[in-house]
Symmetry: C2
């Protein structure tokens, strides 16, 4: 059974799936000298599925990788950071293809078995000489130890302040399966992916179509429920790599019950990553959860929660530890879905500030102090008597975010 | 004919419409001691129309005033600032009614002929003793001179750094008509009104239904095309007061041709106010126009322009004078309407940075210097070959905005 407690944070040791090797190296794309090429290679052909940005302006690697998944013959997930290879025209597509060809030659597979991801600045051609030396070096450093996995997780980061990893073990029908994942943030984070890249690796035996459906469901309930700045990126990609290499007892493809168990465990891992991603939002000082109930449907509730989470006025109130609840209620009011104002109730960190359309007498200074003392704030909003509910997680909006993003390229 | 050049800024003297008096006084709702009660009274029953916030959470004065317009027997537009009378439950509605009754008693009309607007903090009961002394004092100070009009425009402001007024004279069929207007910003500014209040007064003879239709059209092309922070408020209201008192030659109700001329002139006045509102956005340092063309329809173009204008990453790039055009193009890509990436071209302040899907070689430092030297930036974005086009105006996003809104109530 799934044991949520086994979902570890990045501080804890990770057990890696069988049949997979990792590497993360620096090749000079990043002026800082930090790692910028990540390579994940399976020992044998593996199932690889992907979910991608919904932006119509998509980077060349997204166009290319999207055309290859889901597949049962995948071997490589190759990522560069520091340059998004987005809005780079025909040259960008050629560069993405060159990266795949080089990795395929090294690994000994077809270029169609290599998935490529890029993240970083938009609109600049990739420095291919550096990238190619990076790919060679990553290949030379592939290893199945935790150090290599962590280096790989480092190498997909851009403005992230810390690497984001999570893992879990799930036992299904007597077999132990590993789920070990990584992702990166940290700006352009919005629903329907973000400038986020993620890779979930597992040794569970899952077919390509099941892997695709499962990954989509996992992403919808985790990565698509977080927001830093509401800007959906050109590059967002989450990959699922399933080697199907189980313990010595052997195992056939997971049954639908088994897949459900695996998906629940993988969702916990992905949710952990999604929350790390929000906590590490550019300039984020505080992190908040908007929990909406009483809407007509779950999708209505999600739309309302997103509207609250996206409001700069709500975000700045969270930054200031300011229980300015009118901003939250009014953001629900313009979200779109029907709400019932005189059945609307808001509870912030356990304090009822607005009940059935009427403001409550509260000790605002005390509530503000409590909000400021926590790194997380919970806004629990009931908008009527319907059955719909949803949660959404977002970072606040700080002067540091503005400072950082005013100075990004020039 | 309409003479756009006659649309004056707030620095210039305003000619007031005939048959209308103004007052703006301080009654202590604002701790600062600034003016906080505005009163506009017509000499005789006048046409009053209104357009209102689309937020489902609406302030008591919006509920009340919305139920009274359009009308041909209007006499008063009464506004308090410093307190929005929003999310104030049953007590809030009683207070709004009390304000109308008091003004009606003073002016000698029915409470249904009094329109009330409020703006300021959400969720606090109105200090009615102060408000009532303010209404008396405003009535005592009513005057048809420019000083009273400017005091009235001051009294509707909240966090505005300057009052916003504009006026124009339009000659139709030999008659001169005045259009004299005011509005306030400056946070919670988003399409479909904002926390904006506005009053357009005129002495043109316009019937109530025509006034309503005309006002809606004016607002859609002006106030609904500006954004500071994307947060649609609970209180937004724009009123049109038409006294129908013309020059000594007399005039009957405007013909449809005459109304079109009047509407064009009034739209110019409203656009002037809308731009002042953006320029005075909370913490705004720079102001930008997004002009979209080549979309499938005008409404698609507007949706794309809004998406670009709302992106915190675009806004912070404008703040920094950073020609980070990938943020603009990618915000168009996730807006929703169909775009054609390889027919997408972006020109920033006259410099083509991206043409038909391919980045152009530019002198980024030079373009950045030019952006920084201007208080306005123009992003001209073609997204395909369709006939749809739209303009949208927005403020940037600064550390000052964040600082200000982190500290608003507590």
């Amino acid at each position: 059974m799934t044991d949520n407690a086994s979902t570890e944070t990045s501080d804890q040791p990770h057990v890696l799936p069988r049949g997979i090797r990792f590497a993360g190296v620096a090749c000079g794309i990043k002026a800082s000298g930090k790692r910028d090429v990540s390579m994940i290679v399976t020992d044998r052909p593996a199932v690889i599925a992907g979910v991608y940005t919904t932006n119509q302006i998509v980077a060349a690697p997204v166009v290319l990788t999207r055309s290859k998944t889901p597949t049962a013959s995948g071997r490589v997930v190759l990522t560069n950071s520091g340059n998004a290879n987005a809005c780079t025209g025909e040259e960008g597509m050629q560069n993405a293809q060159t990266m795949c060809q080089q990795a395929a030659d090294l690994v000994g597979c077809d270029p169609s078995d290599v998935m490529v991801m890029s993240t970083g600045v938009i609109g600049h051609p990739l420095p291919m000489e550096k990238v190619q030396s990076g790919i060679q070096s990553a290949f030379d450093n592939l290893s199945d130890d935790e150090e290599a996995y962590l280096a790989s997780a480092d190498a997909i980061c851009t403005t992230d302040q810390f690497r984001k990893t999570a893992s879990s073990t799930v036992t299904i029908d007597g077999h132990d399966y590993q789920i070990t994942a990584m992702c990166k943030g940290a700006g352009m984070i919005a629903p329907n992916m973000a400038t986020m890249l993620g890779v979930i690796t597992t040794d569970a035996p899952i077919g390509p179509d099941a892997a695709h459906a499962s990954l989509k469901s996992i992403a919808d309930s985790t990565f698509n429920r977080v927001s830093v700045d509401g800007h959906t990126s050109t590059n967002d990609t989450v990959m699922l790599v399933a080697t199907g290499l189980t313990d010595s007892k052997g195992a056939s493809e997971l049954s639908s019950d088994g897949l459900a168990l695996w998906q629940e465990a993988a969702s916990q891992v992905a949710l952990r990553l999604a929350k790390l991603l929000v906590a590490d939002g550019e300039g984020a000082a505080r992190f908040f959860e908007v929990r909406v109930s009483g809407a007509a449907s779950d999708s209505d509730a999600l739309q309302i929660a997103k509207s609250v989470a996206a409001s700069p006025l709500v975000k700045t109130a969270i930054t200031g530890g300011d229980p300015n609840w009118g901003r939250i209620v009014s953001a629900a009011g313009y979200a779109g879905p029907k709400i019932t104002p005189d059945r609307t109730t808001l509870v912030i960190d356990g304090v009822t500030v607005f009940e059935n359309g009427t403001p409550q007498k509260i000790d605002a200074a005390k509530l503000s102090a409590a909000m400021k003392a926590n790194s997380e704030v919970l806004a629990d909003l009931r908008v009527g008597d319907g059955p719909g509910k949803a949660s959404f997680w977002a970072s606040d909006l700080t002067e540091a975010y503005v400072r950082f993003n005013s100075l990004y390229t020039t």
